[in-house]
Symmetry: C2
Subunit: 342 residues, 2 copies
DNA sequence: AATATTTCTGCAATCGATTGCAGAATAAAA
DNA sequence: TTTTATTCTGCAATCGATTGCAGAAATATT
């Protein structure tokens, strides 16, 4: 069932000219007679010619393709970032090759290698949770491919980065809790090998310090990433003789949802007896009852920023590539789950 | 900053052999001496060689790439389907090029053409809402590219299709409402140029007929796709002198959410005075109060099915391609918003 | 009319990997 | 030892588009 496709040679043959001229016409070069050019374009359309990008890329040495590696394609935040990138790259006729690492380092390495093989011009990556070794990322740079890290970045690698100011956001969130009169604020933290979670913890600590509140280590629950783990941590916290009066689920809104469900089940009134703050501004946070205070990361905007950063960098490619970090300030969205004043 | 990459010629030169042998070794052919093969692989690793897939594809005439076109990457359903496809294709070392049509026919055409240019082996598409002309899809077939439609399919095109049995699902949903004692059931319908919405409407009508309930045209609201439109439709419905006692938001859960919010605001008790059923099983339907009855489409599974359908078709490629339709039966998820009995 | 300039076209190499074919080197069989 | 079979290796063409260079054709300048 293989139909042979029309090539520039077919067009050339039909018009009794060379492929060179056809190529020039199709690329709108000036070095072809206006009439022949028109004739070529007309014939190309008639024969339903489609340029073979593969061949073109091989010759020209660039692919106009950006590779993206994310832990999960179908996670809201990442899907939005990808949508943002797609939006911005589409206009410039770039293609996107998308891979998911499933949070596994091994798969991440394979994805990156595939993208290198594909000769992509740029790789955009948010590293997986269990990523520890970074030779595959260094490899990207060694192959002359632009590397842009976002959200979950490897600090020590000097690449372009687009991140959220996690520390600042956490600081604001916890400060807000304190202003609302909460005094024993618990933290549900994520895996500390990921910088984003370290930063969120740092913001939490900073806020406490700023307001001269002592850090109680029993109020910090490790690895409470999912809804289930958030729920489990909450059960533990609320069973303490001296339970917290607020919980900052710094890992995700899913975790915060777990908190809310357990708190409600255990008879804690939200927000009067327990304040809850999540992270990410998932759609559902608006419609729980009470609605959940959270932090918006401007994910689509982040995607656009990544794409534009790449294009900008391309334009100034004559200059040395200077590691550049763009930090997007997330926004605290205050909702019912933390509003017990005013 | 262009570093020249290692090619098979570099390896060949270093070892004083030809590129042919290097190529054979890298492809694990039997026609190379075992020792030279080992030596070649070792050298390739040392030189950090990465195969140029572009060149390889050009020669071999296939790209091991599947192109996907969806209206929106960051819509839950589509993100899940893509994740499912990714999961199944990854093992077979296929790549995914993803495009979004933003529900615009014009962009859809451009995306499809790009994918043809890229010489993808297969195009997986869910057509955009305003897609009317289908020459670009016929074009795919004419170029010898496997075309698989899913969810929103163009019926008259004889291609592989993976769909949900929308009619059956709607039939079950509305039957469930009737069994719960609801008698005046309204329908929020989607754009009727998309078959999926036609089918859902057909299921609604079938259920009414089956239970000998007369169709009231005023209870059918056109084009209530989004949360806002769903809310608007609901306001209209509930202001009627003889309002419905149930609303089937056949377009989406977002629409159903709009229904719920308006109903609550207008003082209608759900489910006792008004039953609500959505479509898609979005994560949030579980956590609204009351939780929303909806229909699960098994989106990730759908993605895997699509990928496997392709691979299966590849294996039997010697036989003529027979249009094949796989219909996945969605599942009604009964929750509080429609449970007023038992 | 002779020369210089501009515009166009073709030739042939190139991008990097793959593969059919032919022949060399080695091993096995007679 | 000769013949046959097997295993390896290299040559050269191929995939389709692009592009530097050279020369032809057309136009402009003196």
């Amino acid at each position: 069932m293989k139909k042979k496709r029309t090539t520039i040679y077919d067009i050339a043959e039909k018009l009794n000219i060379t492929a060179s001229s056809v190529s020039r016409a199709l690329n709108n070069s000036n070095y072809v007679n206006e009439n022949t050019k028109k004739l070529i374009l007309k014939t190309a359309a008639e024969l339903n010619y489609k340029r073979n990008t593969i061949a073109s890329n091989l010759r020209s040495g660039q692919s106009k393709t950006i590779g993206i590696v994310v832990p999960r394609i179908n996670q809201n935040f990442f899907a939005n970032v990808i949508a943002g990138i797609e939006d911005a790259t589409y206009e410039k006729n770039y293609n996107l090759i998308i891979c998911q690492s499933n949070e596994q380092e091994e798969k991440e390495v394979k994805c990156v290698n595939t993208l290198i093989n594909q000769q992509v011009d740029c790789i955009v990556i948010s590293v997986s949770a269990d990523s520890h070794d970074h030779t595959h990322l260094k490899n990207v740079i060694e192959h002359g491919i632009q590397l842009i890290q976002f959200d979950r970045v490897v600090d020590e690698l000097e690449t372009l980065k687009v991140i959220n100011d996690n520390e600042q956001a956490s600081l604001e969130a916890v400060s807000h809790l304190i202003e609302q009169g909460y005094k024993r604020i618990a933290l549900l933290e994520g895996p500390q090998n990921l910088d984003i979670f370290k930063q969120r913890k740092a913001g939490y600590l900073k806020a406490l310090k700023k307001h001269k509140i002592a850090v109680v280590h029993d109020l910090i629950i490790e690895n409470a990433w999912t809804k289930e783990l958030g729920a489990e941590g909450t059960r533990k916290l609320l069973s303490m003789p001296n339970p917290p009066d607020a919980i900052f689920a710094s890992t995700s809104d899913f975790s915060a949802l777990g908190v809310l469900e357990v708190a409600t089940a255990m008879g804690f009134k939200v927000p009067s007896e327990l304040g809850i703050c999540g992270y990410s501004n998932e759609a559902f946070t608006e419609i729980t009852s009470p609605s959940i205070t959270t932090i918006d990361q401007f994910s689509i905007y982040m995607g656009k920023t990544i794409a534009n950063l790449y294009f900008q960098e391309m334009e100034n490619k004559e200059t040395e590539v200077i590691p550049k970090i763009i930090s997007i300030k997330p926004k605290l969205i205050i909702r019912s789950s933390t509003s017990r004043k005013g």
